[in-house]
Subunit: 459 residues, 2 copies
């Protein structure tokens, strides 16, 4: 049609397809494999933490009549669903509180859409932990690289990037696990392009869950269709009328393919210590430091001034009317850090948010721009009732790329989430099994433990 | 958050939600109800015509393991699937050849995404034909109006509007059939906004099917989730970070709500007499006229010149290498019209496209721009072997809004499709049942006949 003939290597989907289909398991470094396990441990904990939330129960109730045989675990739940429905529910749960992982350059939560369908497939088909880990790495890598190519314009335009790019990652991961060829994987990614959906406007609502759940469910669907011969346009991702241009502006295609298999986006994954907006994390750290160092309690606080860059103020300086506001509030974050010495799921739950004592403490917090502070930093100054002025500055929050959570901290977060979700299985054993995932001949024992229903196979 | 408080009537979703939930059945005119039946008759025929196509069989094979109890008919097939899976497959089939209906202002194929989920729901729950017809009217109206609000920029940007707007129509139709409140319907439409997907780049591939099938399946999903309490952002459609701005430019919101319930987009629906690009229809009409009037056969043709506006030439002047090219080729359309006196599914199928005699005839056809002809018109001049020069001009093609297909013509198209799809049921009885749909106490007998498996309940 008048354009120059393109070679296979000119198509983003072909390059990604070959990478996903062929990158050898033995070429994934120990560091990479370990990061994959950290991502999965964090993922499982987040899903367990909300397993009894009405949003999760509603998703199960709606999908149950539309599920084939229940071959896949719903994390923390007695119900079993088919692999597509379980993928939907587990993705919804993992991302529900935005307490899951973050790829900071794109703001993608990488694991929620990618892990559920491969866990479900592996459980259904008795595949090994090593296969799952490798499929996860490749899928998450594809997801974040496609995200890089359309950032930041794509999100700024209104696309919920975890959902829109998640479906590519899920398709890629499932394609690898199903053993699709490079050509079939190319088609799976192209089919994903016709399923990428989810808008930022819906973030403060249950409709967010649907975008993220669909990314997981439809990524699996794309891979299964490609396996059975469904094709897509060669340039479904980057073509003139393809996804990247439709959903944004001019994609930076080099960001997708440059250094593929050499530089890994997955290694940039970060994990939240607190279930609230990531810009608030350095504020919480500073408050916790002050509280611990000076033995403060809520009653000691006369006034608090939080200083940070414009982004912190723009995101976090707000009146708190409900739980959702609290999770993006400088005032609430500081208040609970001083009051409880903690800022976990409980501290952002309705009883604490509505507590008059906490509301009073929130009113003592004032936020100010300090142009001298870099993005991600925060300074907190406390005036005590006794007349002292105390100050702490945090340049990099816990959980940032500069100060990543340690494995022990991730374990503690997992245990905390498991407790919050009412999980009554053996938490230590579960953690141990995730760290040893690459030795598991079958995913079934782990997933059985994850249901929390007491049933367990051999390790 | 600094913006003025909005009243309920300021939200597009609220206005549409109330319209869909409340517009009385008795207020839909006989003309409207009849147009709904014409749309459905055309829809059923298109789905029957390709019921044995590998694309349909693949979709069934992939979805069968992920289907709950088979409570819904797959048109022209023995398999039964749950309502979501059947919605997917029936939408794919109806739109597969783009032989279905067209809302010309948006290029939406309105019925393929909207009819399948309400037919499936009605079959599952034993609902009446009158309820289905009314839900269809309201859903298709919402779909086309949302399409108007983002046209033509949305499609031009790369969004396959049948898929992206189809999910809103399907959600609305299902919401009405399920008896959702205005508020719940508003939420269903907002959930649909997080599921709107499908790109134009994928149109010449099976990935197109996935976008259209998902629109049907996910519209039902949106309504079921809203029924169970899932909410969406109030301005999920039109908000600053909502679907319409993310997927296009500034939406013309008035196009959605103005004259709602008074002016009907559904009345502008058109039906194709030929399974090829709509711009070619006047070319075919002119050739058929010449052939009939002058008793021409293929052997009489020395040369053909087709004249039309720039759009006709841009879309249709191309070398034919395969079936897909043929369906958008001036040359092939003219050749089969002269050779067979027909331009149906058979005339665009691979054996005819690859026939050397037809290829030779195609080479005798030349296309030229004639600036004096309006959009949609065509002039055809034939030089015969005997030295005659014959000319026909068609200003409005059969099937256009100016020359709509009659009910009898739609019946003939349906019968032709049924035959092509190998349907072995009673075609006359089926047509009769569609015309009498509003008298059907239950959809089950009709859907049973539509399976073509010989089983039939009482009418």
């Amino acid at each position: 049609m008048g354009t120059q003939a393109q070679g296979r290597a000119d198509y983003v989907g072909a390059v990604l397809g070959d990478f996903v289909a062929r990158f050898p398991r033995e070429d994934a470094s120990a560091t990479l494999r370990h990061e994959a396990k950290r991502s999965l441990l964090n993922f499982f904990g987040c899903a367990l933490g909300v397993a009894r939330d009405p949003a999760v129960e509603t998703a199960i109730r709606v999908l149950q009549p539309f599920s084939g045989p229940g071959e896949a675990t719903v994390i923390g739940r007695p119900e079993r669903l088919d692999a597509m429905a379980a993928s939907f529910v587990n993705a919804v749960a993992a991302n529900f509180l935005d307490y899951d992982d973050t790829h900071l350059e794109t703001v993608i939560h990488p694991t929620a859409p990618v892990a559920p369908p491969i866990l479900a497939l592996a459980e259904q088909r008795g595949l090994s932990g090593a296969e799952v880990l490798h499929a996860f790495l490749l899928g998450a890598e594809v997801e974040c690289r496609i995200g890089n190519s359309v950032s930041p314009g794509h999100y700024a335009r209104g696309w919920h990037i975890t959902a829109t790019c998640g479906v590519f990652g899920a398709a890629a991961a499932c394609a690898r696990l199903l053993g699709l060829s490079g050509e079939q994987t190319w088609n799976a990614l192209g089919i994903a392009a016709s399923q990428a959906a989810g808008v930022v406007e819906n973030l403060p609502s249950a409709a967010k869950n649907v975008g993220v759940g669909n990314a997981a469910r439809n990524g699996l669907f794309a891979a299964l269709l490609a396996q059975q011969g469904y094709a897509a346009a060669p340039a479904a991702i980057e073509g003139r009328l393809g996804w990247a241009r439709a959903a944004g502006d001019e994609p930076r295609l080099a960001a997708i393919t440059e250094g593929l298999g050499e530089r890994w986006e997955v290694l940039k994954n970060t994990y939240k210590p607190y279930p609230c907006g990531i810009v608030l994390h350095s504020v919480i750290d500073a408050c916790l430091d002050l509280r611990a160092e000076h033995g403060l309690s809520a009653d000691d606080i006369a006034a608090v001034v939080v200083r940070g860059d414009r982004l912190l103020l723009a995101r976090g300086d707000r009146v708190v009317e409900n739980e959702r506001d609290a999770r993006v509030s400088i005032h609430h974050s500081a208040a609970v850090a001083f009051a409880f010495g903690a800022a976990g799921v409980r501290e952002f739950s309705p009883p604490v948010v509505m507590d008059p004592k906490i509301a009073a403490l929130r009113r003592k917090v004032r936020a100010e721009v300090d142009e001298s502070l870099p993005v991600g930093a925060a300074s907190v100054t406390v005036e005590t009732v006794g007349g002292r002025t105390l100050r702490a500055v945090v340049m990099h929050a816990r959980g940032s790329r500069e100060r990543p959570l340690s494995d022990r901290e991730l374990e503690a977060k997992f245990a905390d989430n498991a407790r919050l979700g009412g999980f009554n299985g053996d938490v230590e054993r579960l953690i141990e099994q995730v760290w040893r995932l690459d030795e598991a001949g079958s995913l079934r024992p782990l997933m059985s433990l994850m249901s929390g229903q007491g049933a367990a196979g051999a390790g």
